[in-house]
Assembly symmetry: C2
Homo-oligomer: 172 residues x 2
DNA sequence: GTCTATACAGTGATAGAC
DNA sequence: GTCTATCACTGTATAGAC
């Protein structure tokens, strides 16, 4: 529903928890709730995406990223909250968190590709294109009500990574 | 600000038009205002993007699309309202309009590429990837506060189209 | 056509009963 | 900790003066 659309009325209706209880748990109100949701998202990505990319074996980490990304976004059945926040005025309330989410993902992916033998320029360009394609794929899948848009996007990206690494590590 | 964030208070503050006048012009309230904004967007895209792609000389129409897209989105300084609507519950109020915006763009682009000699499967895949990359590029540019993300995206797409058509129309 | 005045539901937030 | 009651305020919407 977005930040503005997620009113207390909606939250109480869908959770069964009254406003009083919500304010007891989150004295900072809606802003705190959203911040903690974003924190939870960040923790998931650090553990399941960024750290494997940063420390794991490059090819395995890359394969892991595609499957985990597909899993997290339910094969296109779910949208990225960070991306949705980025598109309206909500961005200004959570600028640092939103920016870090994307830059860290791109940076981790770039590093992984370079450890796999890719050139720095090409790795950076691919990481940017991959992260932006994931967001665009989720958006388009929801817009046209067809999850296969997202799964096709992920497949194209994986194939494109294969090509990139094959060219940079030519067989002899 | 998104649909929910764009309250009457904001609209009157930013336009200087009172609520009474707004309801005189738009008896249907905010929903009608949004619908007419979407209609205006659609008309712009029909005239400046879809029709040139559908009827113009393929290579010129393609080049025209990149420049017009860059112009409309102010080189990444502006976000796509249709895309923003697609990501939250607003989508359900304007489903048909949102879906048509994207499907018509993809269809027009696919047709143009095929008239330029591209294979149907590759043309369809490229059109999907292009439309989704434009949305993702706008989102990421705003998220990391760097318009160059969008201009780079557009450049990569144009280059990718060149490659696609060069492969399908091999020089002899 | 524009404005002011007003209605009334819904908003985020607080206090206090249990 | 949970709830209900209540707050001040903003939201959409309407009526009527100019």
């Amino acid at each position: 529903m977005g930040y503005e659309g997620a009113s207390f009325g909606q939250i109480t209706k869908l959770t069964g928890i009254s406003k009083g209880s919500l304010f007891h748990a989150f004295p900072g109100g809606k802003e705190q709730m959203a911040a903690e949701v974003l924190l939870g998202i960040d923790e998931w990505f650090v553990k399941n995406i960024y750290e494997p990319l940063e420390t794991g074996a490059p090819n395995a980490a890359l394969a892991h990223m595609w499957t985990q990304t597909d899993k997290y976004f339910r094969s296109g059945g779910r949208v990225c909250l960070v991306g949705a926040f980025a598109l309206d005025a909500t961005r200004d309330h959570f600028q640092g968190t939103i920016q870090t989410y994307f830059t860290r993902w791109m940076h981790a992916l770039t590093g992984c590709l370079m450890r796999a033998g890719a050139d720095a320029t090409e790795a950076t360009a691919f990481a940017e294109q991959a992260v932006l394609s994931i967001q665009g794929g989720l958006l388009l899948a929801r817009a046209v009500n067809d999850q296969t848009v997202f799964t096709r996007t992920l497949k194209r990206l994986a194939a494109s990574a294969e090509t990139l690494l094959a060219c940079q590590n030519p067989p002899r």
